[in-house]
Amino acid sequence: MSTLSDRLSAQPGEIIDRSSKLRFTWNGKGVTGFAGDTIASALMANNVQVVSRSMKYHRPRGYMTADYWDPNGSVQLASEPNVRSGHRQLQEGMKVSAQNVWPSLDRDVRAVNGVLGRFLTAGFYYKTFMHPRSLWPTYEKVLATFAPGGKVDLDAPSGYFDKRYAHPDVVVAGGGPSGLAAAIDAARAGAKVMLVEHTHHLGGHLLWGSDGDRAVLAQLLTELAEADVEVLVDSTVTGRYEDNWIGISQRSHPGVEERLIKARAKMLVVAGGLIERPYVFEGNDLPGVMMSSAVRRSMAMYAVRPGSRAVVLSANAEGDAAVEALTAAGVEVAAVVDPRNGQDLVRAKGSRRVESVELADGRSVEADLLVIAAGWTSPTSLINMAGDRPSFDDSCGRFFPTDPPETVLVTGGMAGDGTTEEIVEHGRATGDLAARRASTVAHRLQAATTRAQSVDEIEPVWAADSRIALGRWSHPGLYRASTHGIVDYSEDVSSKDLVAAAKEGYDSVELLKRYTTATMGPSQGKLSTVNTVAILGEARGETIAEVGTTVWRPPFAPISLGALGGRKFEPIRVSAMHRWHEANGATPIIAGQWIRPEHYGDPAAEVRKTRSGVGLIDVSPLGKLDLQGADVPKLLNHLYTNTWNKLPIGGVRYGIMCAEDGIVLDDGVTGRLGENHYLMTTTSSGAATVWEWAENWLQTEHPDWDVSVTPVTTAYASMNLAGPKSREVLSSLVDDIDLDPEDFRYMQLRTGRIAGVDNCIMWRIGFTGELSFELHVPAGYGEAVWRSVMEAGAEFGITPFGLEGQRIMRLEKGHFIVGQDTDGLSLAPATGLDALIKLDKPDFAGKPELSWALENYEGPLVVAVQPVDPNVVPGEASQIIDPIDKRILGRITSARYSPTLERSVCLAQVEPQFATAGSRLTIKMIDGSLQEAVVQEHHAHFDPEGERLRG
């Protein structure tokens, strides 16, 4: 028997194209297949017996289901690991190799043949690699060499992934006879239908059925072509979430590696068919043991002869059909074992493949193929996800839906048994029902959108389920023979392991699953769940229904991380001056959604030039809210901790905002433009939060206040002109604004014309600590004004500066950044700005917490810190520790080398007893070394009196 399996003559339903030969390699050896082949069918046709080694025992494994769920059918494709060979279609030039083998598939030195469970029993890893804990890093390295799965190529090119949002009326999950019929009739009834089929071909089991089955399929496909149905093959409905939010992984979209479709379906039809269930007996994982559906599929669709002499265990009509098909293909059927007549098998024997089968009647039959038709598992995942708890029917040996939501309909094998005609009829009725219910759902959704239109027609009646129910054919409950064998092939868990674990006390199915890892491998229990439950039931003396089952969770089939990431539907924001930055050598940095200049080559030089002359920074992302109305001061008093009653027109004030728990939320300045008109600025990252925060108070607690909030962040281009020469630069650019320092003072604003552009706002503030003017100009003129300022500044040696220069200068000045120098636990007193908390106001956000905090604040404080060694710049988030007992006393929150002071400067959070000026701190550097530092008197390392910015 040199050739066990090869190609059959042309089969009536074959889908391979014999005229198109494809060359590929298997473990480096050149082989061929045909277009239409899966990798698995091509390997089988090339007489490849062993396709992988099992996870724990490294036992040889062949094809058992030869489809997507084949527990040991994963292969490596060049740089792509874990490719399902029973699913992936063959392509010219593919480099296919076995994974989880060492050094080779044929001679795997880790193989533990025939000593089932002696070494690696359930809980082996937990028990063996537990103690001592100090050895865990060593254990980890050892275990890693045993880890299953393919090799991840870190240099693999990243493909293009995409996302799509869809709003179909009906999604049909499953393209077998019932799903096809449902899709056709739903579309005929007027519904917008998406038909999703996991494999590459529509038809389900009709593809490998009788001539009559193929005729039915041909008819359905004709009808489908005429119906308006969006058909997605090689695509999987991966999950069903609230209100029929359906995830679909589409692997077949041209030009895209994988596309994640998020569909809001009005109705979901679940037509998932049935998965053939393995049978547990000794030797049940030997290559040559195959499911009857796998054998029939291989022969009918791929014309592969799966063996030469077969024993068939047939407990149902499909098994009987497999006997017929094998005989017709010229495979000798040496014995048929029929459990319906009380027959059974005991074990399969062989070293690298089935060689003989021992039967319960004492016979030993020589065979190279053992075909199993022991029953079916209903893949109830989607109805589980819809909230249903399917119930087990002992007389049929499988689960059925109990009471799914009315917007989820089940058809086909998951709903019951019937002839092909009955199944198709049930599918049609289901499609029609789905379409009618979908129109009611559509009506309800529209009616709920009362603003969108007036819905005057009466809601269509919710269609009653008047389908003729499918029958339930009795089936022997076959789970385990008299011997023990593999239950979970992915995880190498045997029935002995399960019995032992149950004896150890892991006798609830959820515990057993986690302890033994049964059902947790790549096939996710599709083949093993019911057998696991049955064997646990056996150990507990209970039925499957009594034991209960594990809950199926999404995704139904794996989704690549690429598809989950997909295309980002998030805007990228750039300022009006972005083009100028790009043309002038800016290094970009991503700050939230914004792309901003980090610097223009040399941030330290930008700082020096700004401090000695003048610099210009783009601060457009600064959050800006236009506030109008008679009650704006009430709102400001409520949001900020300080008082806003007496801000004059033209005045600007700084404030901090706290949440209701007293934690600092944001900070910024607000200026008064007119009688009832203010402009609030927020931090760049806080813009959306503060807007929502303001709306929250106005809409819920104080709807009587007369305030309108309009976000104007991107309506203005904003820039800050900073440095001792800034006034001189500006003087040539304004005509109706008086820059005289006696008139236009620090913390004041003016409106007027800048560089010929009307309706600009200018205020004198400065994060950098220099004399500076913040210009807010209508965004459309942003670049023009920026250019004018740069031109006017040329004679004063103006420099553009980026975010980094600003960060250095603000740190030199000791200005904290909310969220960097404060955190989610920082109460307002932590900032040291107690003077800005005005408890004499009747109310403001967070007032009760702040009043208690100010009474007795014992939390950390933000302080300025300088390392003793001026050249040491600690990494941000370095710990401040007690050098003796190593207790953590705080952390460095910001650190930079100051080009102005020519030394390192930091902000830190420390416990209050170490926050006094002169306190010596010990900083634990990233590399573990310790550095001394001293707490400063003022937050500002530079110009603590603020003389420069008032100049």
Partner: protein, 90 residues
């Protein structure tokens, strides 16, 4: 993903809105005690039952509104009327 019936925009994906949380009355800051205030901040009833909750239609009409939802079935009932200057508390 939940469909949330915004009174102004109609049913929208919950990702279009922000879940503010259980609706509760803000204690009077002038008279509140730490216990009462922190119950308002942190202690939620979280019943497996109908619950009044607040949503913010952050990607739509930007209105806060309160609505009843059954936490076990995610069914909504008694949405506020559309329009009005502000959504407001129920």
């Amino acid at each position: 993903m939940l469909l949330v019936p915004c009174p102004n925009c109609g049913p929208r994906n919950s990702s279009d809105l922000r879940y503010v949380g259980e609706s509760h009355k803000r204690p009077d800051p002038a008279t509140t005690t730490p216990e009462e205030w922190r119950t308002y901040l942190y202690m939620h009833k979280n019943p497996a039952d109908w619950m009044m909750e607040t949503w913010y239609c952050s990607s739509g009409c930007r209105r806060f509104f309160t609505i009843e939802r059954h936490t076990a079935t995610s069914e909504f009932r008694n949405p506020p009327l559309p329009g009005g200057k502000r959504g407001g508390r129920a």
